[in-house]
Subunit: 298 residues, 4 copies
C-alpha cells in the first residue's frame, strides 16, 4: 500500500444506498474516490464534501485506491463494472481489495472473486440488509463472504456503514446468506398476508389478530414492522417489489444449482411476479397482501 492511498477508498455505484454509505465513510475520516454511471449523484456528493473526488471510469477508481467498494443493482452491472472495458479488473494488483456490497448471484460473486484473485488481488462479497434507512443511519447488517484476512482489513469500513457484521464463510457465502434472507422475508410476508386476509374475510378485526398473534410463536419482524401498514394498505417503499423479485430469481437459480428445494419460495415468487404484472412493481414488498386480497375477491 502506498502512503497516499492508505486512507483512500474507491466507491462505485452511488445510488439510494451508495450515497449515504459514502457519507458515512467520509464521516469516519476516509477520502472517497467515486464513480457512477449517471453524473448527478457524483456532483451532489462532491459538492457537499471535499473528501469526495470523482473518477472517470471503474478502472480509474481501482488505480486511485487500494480498496474499492461496489454497490450496484444487479449481477450484469457488477460484471460490466468489473469485466467491462475500463473495468476494475484492469486495475487489480497485489494488495488490491474489492468489496462487492451489491446483492447479486452467488455464482457471479464467486466468478468475480476468482478473477480478482487471478489478477493478484482479493475480493469480498458483502451484501447488506436494512434498506436506505439503515444505510443512512449506518446500521446495516453486513453478510460477508471471503478470507479471514480480507475481512479483518475491511472491518473498519464495515463498522463505518453497518452494525451487525457477520463473516459467513468463503467467497460467495455473503450472497448465499443474503439470498436466504430474501427467501425468509418474502415467505414471512406471505404468511402475514394470508393470515390477515383470512381474518378480514371472516369478519374479524385484523388488528386484534395481529395483536394477539404478535405475542406468540406466530410473531415475526415482518408482522411487527409492517402488519399495521399492510392492514391500512400503505405501501410506500421501503424496499420495492421489483427488487425483491430480482432477489428471489437469484435464490431460485441458486436453488437449482445447489440442489436445494424451494417450493414455497417458487410460489411466492410467482405471486410477486403477479403483483408486478398488475402494476405493483414500484410498491413496497409488503404489498404482497394485495395479491392475496385480489385472489379473495377484493
Amino acid at each position: 500500500m502506498t502512503d497516499g492511498k492508505a486512507n483512500r477508498i474507491g466507491f462505485i455505484g452511488t445510488g439510494i444506498m451508495g450515497k449515504p454509505m459514502v457519507r458515512n465513510l467520509v464521516k469516519a475520516g476516509y477520502q472517497v474516490v467515486v464513480y457512477n454511471r449517471s453524473q448527478s449523484a457524483i456532483d451532489e456528493l462532491t459538492a457537499k464534501s471535499d473528501a469526495v473526488t470523482p473518477a472517470g471510469s471503474p478502472e480509474e477508481v481501482a488505480r486511485a485506491a487500494d480498496t474499492v467498494i461496489l454497490m450496484l443493482p444487479d449481477s450484469p452491472d457488477v460484471r460490466d463494472v468489473v469485466f467491462g472495458e475500463n473495468g476494475v479488473l484492469n486495475g487489480v494488483r497485489e494488495g488490491f481489495l474489492l468489496i462487492d456490497m451489491s446483492t447479486i448471484a452467488p455464482s457471479t460473486a464467486i466468478e468475480v472473486s476468482t478473477a480478482v484473485a487471478t489478477a493478484g488481488g482479493s475480493a469480498l462479497d458483502a451484501p447488506v440488509s436494512g434498506g436506505d434507512k439503515g444505510a443512512i443511519a449506518g446500521t446495516l447488517s453486513i453478510m460477508v463472504g471471503g478470507n479471514e484476512t480480507d475481512v479483518k482489513r475491511a472491518m473498519p469500513l464495515f463498522e463505518a456503514m453497518g452494525k451487525t457484521i457477520v463473516h459467513i464463510g468463503g467467497p460467495g457465502a455473503g450472497q448465499i446468506a443474503k439470498a436466504c434472507n430474501q427467501v425468509m422475508v418474502a415467505v414471512n410476508y406471505a404468511a402475514v398476508s394470508e393470515a390477515l386476509v383470512m381474518a378480514e374475510r371472516s369478519g374479524v378485526d385484523p388488528e386484534k389478530v395481529a395483536q394477539v398473534l404478535g405475542g406468540g410463536l406466530a410473531n415475526s419482524r415482518v408482522l411487527e414492522m409492517r402488519g399495521a401498514t399492510m392492514i391500512k394498505g400503505d405501501f410506500q417503499p421501503g424496499f420495492r417489489v421489483d427488487l425483491h423479485r430480482k432477489d428471489l430469481a437469484i435464490a431460485l437459480a441458486t436453488g437449482r444449482e445447489r440442489q436445494s428445494a424451494l417450493p414455497i419460495t417458487a410460489l411466492v415468487s410467482q405471486l410477486y411476479d403477479a403483483l408486478s404484472a398488475t402494476g405493483g412493481g414500484q410498491l413496497d414488498h409488503s404489498a404482497l397482501i394485495t395479491v392475496i386480497e385480489r385472489m379473495s375477491g377484493e
Copy 2:
C-alpha cells in the same frame, strides 16, 4: 346462579393441556367438576386434590356447574360432548356459560354458540396458543370470541390459565384468530426451512446465517425458538405435526367458506401431509425442514 355453584367450574377434556389447566383453576381457588372419556386422567386429578370431583357424563358436568370449560382434540369431539347423548346441551339453562377452549372449526364454534343460546345459555370460543408448557405455567395466549358480558364473566378463569387474553370479536372469532395463528406459524416454518437448507446445501454454515438473519427483517419467533434445533435435527415435541395438520385443514376449510385465498398455506399443508405420510406425524412441527431436506436430495 345458585349459591353453591358460584365457585364451581365444570371441565371436560383433561388431556395434556386440560390437566394442567384444571390444576391452575384449583390453585386460583375454584372447585372443579371434571369429565374425561378415559378415566385415568380423572383419577389422577381427583387423587391429588379435594377440589376436583368427577362426573359421569358431560350432561352431569353441566348440571353441576354454571360455567363449563371444554378442552378437546377436534370438532367431532366437541360435537359429541355438546350434542351427543348425555351431552352438555341437555344441561344448558339460563345463566349457563360454555367456554370452549379447544381448537376447532370456526363454523362448528358458531353452531355450538347458536345451539347453546337457543337453549337459554351462552357460549365463548377461546382457543389457546402456548402449548403444554404454557398450560403448566399458566401463561397461555387466549383468543376469545363471543359477547362482551360473557367475556367479562370468564375473565377471572382466563387469568388463572393464561397471560395474554384478547377479546377478538363475536362467536367464532377466537377460532378464526387461532386459524390465522396456525397459518402464520406453519408458513414461517416453511420460510426458515427453505432458507436454512439452501444455506447448508450451498456449503454455508446455517447457524451463522440464522445469526445474521435474526438481526433483521427476516427474523421470526420460529427462527429464534426453533432455528437452532432445526439445524441440529432435534424434533422432540413440542407441538405435533399431526395436530398442526388438523389445524391447517381447519384453516383451508375456513378459507373455502369465507372466500379467502390461501395458496401458500395449501402448499405448506401438503408438505406437512408428506411429513406425516413418511412417518413424521408425531414429531415436532419444526420437522418440516426434513421435507425440504429430502426434496433436496438427502
Copy 3:
C-alpha cells in the same frame, strides 16, 4: 323380488343430470318411481310419460322398488336422503340394491354401503362423467364400486344410461376413480391455461400454438375440446366452476385420509377458489385461464 317390482326402478334426484337419465331408463322399458326435493322436475317427468310415477319420500321410493338410483349434488344430500327422516335406509330389506350415481366423498360412499349392507341390502357407488350432454345421449362413462354380483345386476340399467362402464373395485372405488378424474381434468386445464397465456403474452398466436401442440405429447382432451373456446374467452357451461371446486375438495380430503400427496391439485384448487371468489363460480371450468390472465396483468 316381488313380481310387480321386477321392472320398477326408484330414482331420487331428477335435476339436470337425473332427468335425462330417467328418460333413458323409460326408453329402455323401465317403470320409474321418482322423488325430488323440488316438485317441478317431477311434474315435468310424470306429465311426459306414464312410466314415471311420483313418491312422497325417499323411504316410499325404497318401498316401491327393489333398485333405487340416487343422483344428488353432494355428500350431505346423500346422507339426508339415506339416513334422514323418511330416508331410504328405512326401506332397505333383503334383495334391495342402492345405486348411488352422485359424485360424493369416497368415505361417505363406504359409510352408505356399510349401512345398507347392515340393513340387509347392498349398494354400489357409480359416479359418472360426460356431463348433461352425456346424460341426454346416454353415453355417460360410469365408474362402479361394489360387489361383482351387484354390478352384474345393475348392468342393464347402466347400459341404458351410459357407454363406457368400468367396474373399478369394491365399495368406494367408483368415487375414488371419479376423484382421480376431476384431479386430472383440473390440472390439465391449468396446463393449457398457463401455456396459452404465455403464448399470448409473448406476442404469439395461441391458436397456432394449440394447433402444433395438439399433434404431440402435449395434447389432451381438454386442449382439443376447450382450447379454442378458452382462447376466445367463451365460458358457457358445460361443467360449472363451483361443482369442480366441490369435487376438488373431495379429492383433497381423500388425499389427506389416504396419505396421497396432491401438491399440484392443492394449488389448482386455490386458483379455482380465486375464480369463484372473483365472481366466476357459475362459469365453465375452462375459465381457469382467466385466473392466469389476471395474474399476468390483464
Copy 4:
C-alpha cells in the same frame, strides 16, 4: 447462391437428435457438411455416407454452405457456436440462412436472429418435439419462428426431417411454442402422477382408473403413451428429466420477462428439481410420479 452450394447443407451438433436428422437429410438427397465438438459422432456419420463431410469449426461450416442447421443442447452452446471464436457469425453473408433447431431461450433466439440479420443473413428458430424416435423416423413436429420467405426456403429441409411443420410467428416464436409445449407436457405428467398415486394409495387398481379416465375429458397423450409404464415403474428414457428441467427453466425465465404467470409450472419445476436432486436426473420425465409416491410415504 453459388452452384456447388445449392444442395449443400451445414449441420452443427450431431448428437442423439442431430445424427438421425443428418441421415434423413442425406436420404433426401442433400450433401451435409457437419461439425460437432466431439469427433466420434462425425466419424460415424462420414464413415457411413459419402454425402457427409467434416468441417473444422462452425465458421468453416458457414463458409461451406448457404444454409446451416444447429441442433445443440442449450442456449450457452448456441451462443458459443454462433458468437464464439471461429463461430458461425464470421461466415454470415447475404443469402445465408441459419436454422436453429435447438431448444433454447426465446430471448437468445431473438438475439441470434438480430445478429445474423445485422451481418446480412437471416435466421429461423425451429425447435422440435418428438424425441429421438421422431428424429429417426423423420416425423418430428417443427415449430418455426421467422420470416415467411425464409420459412418457405427451409421447407424442403423441414419436410425431410419432420411431419407437422407450423410457422408460428416472427423470430423467437418457435421457441415460445416449444416452451408452451414443455409446460403442458410437464403439468400433464403432474396430473397423471397425482391421480394414479391417489388411486393406488386408496387401494384401487390404477390401470382400471387409467382405462376409464382415458375415455373422457381427463384423457391426455401423456396418459395414453405413459400411463401404463408409469404404473409399472418403467422409466427408461425417452426424454430425460434433466433436459426437461432445462426447458422449464427457460419457460419460467420467459414468464418472468413477458409477465406471464406460471404458478403451477413453477411448482412442477420444483418437483422435477427434487427428482433430479434425489438421483433421477437421467430417468424419463414420466418418473415425476416417483416424487408424488415418495411424498405419499412410498
